[in-house]
Assembly symmetry: C2
Homo-oligomer: 591 residues x 2
């Protein structure tokens, strides 16, 4: 099995698509980031992903992390790769130059992040944490706090970790119990137990800054009484150098089914009453702070879905080209490469087309974020933010749900060999399994989508999206050979509108809650079909210019495949949504 190679042409094609769709290239601050820059960055990242990170992926899976006496050791090769990753400047790719970053827009950082996730998801998890926690500091931290932390997070001397979950407070953070007691000097004494902290402890950086959610004394109950604190493993002296141990003790790491190379830590804060933290932002506004990171993280996790799907495709298609078995379905020639069996082609194109559609969506969201961040006109920014808010839960949940299916489909292509660990495809299945859970489960994304993003504004953000999709459909209908793509796409928006209209006035909370995931999946299929339709139109234009016929014909083929094999599921999901309460209330789980 050869290691992951970044699909540079496809990535570049879809970056261009996102840039064109959003008009982000016309923003003054972003004008310098032309497609040549994109190509150069992607190529360099692709090289490091291929040579530097991918070879460590099976090693991390086989070795896992070690734990003894409160210390975590990462797998062989991790530390050298980490140093290289930092030295090459990847850590601060999308962070400000003021602190040593590269300040690239997200529409370039997004495909780069995708590469890291494909090449070695376990390894690179620290990156999203350093990136996300830096963004929290940029938005909410004092200048002093920014100066204290961000440059070190970019250089990689320190890493960040998110400490949210407690044994009794998972999806519902309002239940958390960790305490933060203010001291006279402005610091807080932190005490509590947290679990599921990725890279909470490890041997890659000299210090780890934990971003800890905790309650101050007399804070309101529930989620309105949570504050955010920066809690370093080693205290930071006035000159920024490391001081004493800060009573942040790793008490163990989880034995997980996947992501073996990424240490998932349990941490005990303040066992000896000597754990100090500093408040980030205001008291009781911790959850809002965390949402900055959560939105970032949701985009990152959706992208992990795309990235693992891509990896699954690469492994399965390589195997299917090489493995000979069985007779050709038409010619009866024997011992053909299994890629020629239509059912194997079907599995591969199911993966490929869905990866393509959701990748396009993920890149589009990144460009929308860039645009909204530079947007000076309030009403336009509101619209952009509404669009981002609508698309984010779809992308997070749908891309990850699909990638679980894709990992299974890739194993299926391998047959019995896929069940054997040596081939590496089983690792994709195991690694992928967390993506529909962390940073908010699929069920939570679906509720967010349905209640907050679709129904709270009586469907207006959705309607704006649907009318964009209808425009794509109209262009497809007017294009020779794509009429039925257009027809099916507008058929989908038509069906969706009818169902959503009912939902807006529905009082049936059971139906809405039980149907939320079906609705999210319907929108997942729709957004993929929309983006593939856009891609097919652009590919057609390129073909007319006689450019790269095979590549562009393949894109059109993917759109047609998806239209036949995936989009029909939208209608099934809508049908389920509208009758989702059936049987649930009558069923007694008290069996």
């Amino acid at each position: 099995m050869s290691d992951y190679r970044a699909p540079l042409k496809e990535m570049q094609f879809l970056v261009e698509q996102a840039v064109a769709a959003t008009g982000v290239h016309s923003i003054e601050e972003l004008a310098e980031f032309d497609m040549e820059t994109v190509a150069a960055v992607l190529e360099a990242a692709g090289e490091f992903a291929h040579r530097g990170l991918a070879p460590l992926n099976p090693i991390g899976d086989a070795q896992g992390c070690g734990f003894a006496d409160g210390k975590v050791t990462t797998p062989e090769g991790w530390k050298a790769a980490y140093d290289q990753f930092c030295q090459d400047g990847w850590m601060g790719l999308a962070l400000p130059t003021d602190f040593g970053g590269q300040q690239l827009p997200k529409f370039i950082a997004q495909p780069v992040n995708e590469m890291w996730h494909s090449a070695n998801l376990s390894f690179v998890m620290f990156h999203a944490l350093n990136q996300g926690c830096s963004e929290i500091l940029l938005r909410l931290g004092t200048q002093e706090q920014q100066d204290r932390y961000i440059a070190k997070l970019i250089s990689g001397e320190w890493t960040a970790a998110m400490a949210l979950t407690e044994p009794a407070a998972g999806s519902d953070l309002g239940e958390l119990k960790t305490k933060a007691t203010p001291l006279a000097d402005g610091r807080y004494l932190i005490k509590g137990q947290k679990i599921y902290i990725s890279y909470g402890e490890h041997d890659l950086s000299e210090n780890k800054i934990h971003f800890v959610l905790a309650r101050t004394p007399n804070a309101p109950e529930g989620s309105r009484g949570i504050s955010l604190f920066a809690v370093p493993t080693y205290r930071i002296d006035g000159d920024g150098s490391l001081g004493e141990f800060n009573d942040v003790l790793c008490t163990g790491i989880e034995h997980k089914t996947g992501l073996h190379g990424s240490p998932t830590c349990s941490i005990s804060y303040g066992d000896n009453e000597a754990c100090y933290g500093e408040l980030i932002g205001s008291e009781n506004r911790g959850l809002a702070a965390m949402f900055i990171l959560m939105n970032e993280a949701r985009l990152a996790v959706g992208l992990q879905g795309v990235a693992l799907g891509e990896l699954a495709y690469q492994k399965a298609s390589e195997y299917a080209r090489e493995r000979t078995q069985g007779a050709h379905y038409q010619t009866n020639a024997r011992r053909v490469p299994i890629i020629q069996h239509p059912d194997v082609s079907r599995l591969l194109l199911s993966i490929k087309s869905q990866v393509f559609g959701q990748r396009a969506l993920g890149y589009l969201i990144a460009a929308l974020v860039d645009k909204s961040e530079h947007c000076r006109e309030a009403s336009e920014r509101d619209e952009l933010e509404a669009r981002i808010a609508l698309l984010t839960p779809i992308f997070k949940a749908f891309a990850t749900e699909q990638c679980n299916w894709m990992a299974g489909a890739a194993i299926q292509v391998f047959g019995g060999m896929g069940f054997v660990e040596e081939t590496g495809v089983a690792q994709i299945m195991r690694d992928a399994r967390i993506t529909t859970i962390y940073e908010g489960t699929t069920g939570i994304q679906a509720k967010d989508l349905l209640f907050r993003k679709m129904l709270a504004d009586s469907g207006s953000a959705l309607e704006s999206l649907l009318s964009d999709i209808d425009q794509t459909a109209a262009k497809l209908k007017a294009t020779e050979g794509m009429t039925s793509l257009g027809g099916n796409l507008s058929g989908a928006t038509y069906a969706l509108r009818a169902i959503v209209k009912q939902a807006i006035t529905s009082q049936n909370l059971l139906q809405l809650n039980a149907g939320a995931v079906a609705m999210l999946e319907a929108l997942g299929f729709l957004t993929s079909a929309w983006q593939l339709g856009e891609s097919a139109l652009r590919a057609q234009t390129e073909l007319e210019q006689q450019r790269d016929a095979k590549f562009h014909r393949n894109i059109i083929a993917l759109a047609k495949f998806h239209d036949a094999h995936c989009l029909p599921q939208l209608h099934a999901r809508l049908s389920t949504f509208s009758q989702a309460a059936a049987g649930i209330a009558e069923y007694s789980f008290d069996e």
Copy 2:
């Protein structure tokens, strides 16, 4: 987590349903097996599954098998459980009393086997092998061969193994190269390498009888030149006692993602030219012999899908009852058991209803097999066999595809805890992953279904099934509260007929091959809905008699849930089937 408990009431309900549907109780030879007998057998088996086998399941997963110097060691406790299993008479449950078996009909053995699969799939794989290979001997072996092997396979002194696959001959057995050279004394000298042999070597029984597919000199090429041989690990002397080592060397075991407790062996036959086997049946008829076992095995693997789905349900529903998190969707009460969240109910009922539907189908097939085996009227037997042949690939592939989804859904209910191995749900995902592959992949089942079982007879076996389903639909339509179940069911058969009519005359081999799995899945949803409809009707009758209201109301609720959440997917699959070639021929995999 408590261990698996057999769902005795549901099993009994569905055995009764299968018995009633087939009228198998009116067969003279089976008249003694009344529902009291069924209950007694199921209860005893359930007890052993719960106490004897389930506790070993996580141990097998954690320890796996050992391999050194050609010998395999099974996990701790395996040997004692094996001895108990044999001593209690479970090995020969459905084998003739002549050889020490219990000769129970399959409609009783089927739920018992389901229990073994749920409790500890890795452990119990030897049972299906002993059962299946005994059936081959009963059908094709000489009296001498039957006498030599069957009693020992039933007592468990010996075990059977199937040696089919070679590195270059997986799904296409016609490619196999293992040689069998006839000797003057009637024996054959065996030489070759086989892989993926479950329980090919282990420490549970004193001898292992390998059923090896091999080629005699000058045998025709391909699958018409394959013969079947019984090849013991230790030679068998004239008096049945064990002789010398038969040059059957285990060269290694696979490192698999699941089924760790089941040794998957590579075996080298005749490295020292001293491996002898005896022909079973006639030369060049090996594949036909193997199909006896394969049909049996397909039913067993479909049942594994049901069994793992049941286990997933039990674990997830237990956790969901105990875990408190979040607010109630209607009352806003805090810290409710997560089973009260509609999306969690949805996940659980998706598992439960589909397990129920496919379990019903699996038990029905078992009863049909019993009936056909005792049927004396040729035309009736042909019809029964055609029905069994039609339903078997649907059951094998659909129940296993669904169980992979179910295992994922169960992990989803656990959230982050599901990703941690200690909870045991991740093991279900890993174990389940092979079920869509071994004994013929989903793709192969789908081709068998579409070309051989649906189209070869121009749809007549299918039409007979559909008209039975229409009868169920008509009864539902005439039952208060079930009208729409009936309408949706007959809508499904209507849609299917229209599509199949086109397929019968279609020359589009690409479309048929690429759409075969979609068609199989459509029939999977349909057969589940049909069986659930039958169950709902029977439950309604019981309710009218005031019997066990909660249990029977739950069954009706499951039917309604499935109708809303699962059956709509049939229409999506049919839509995909009819346009399944889209994009495939145009796509160039030569990327």
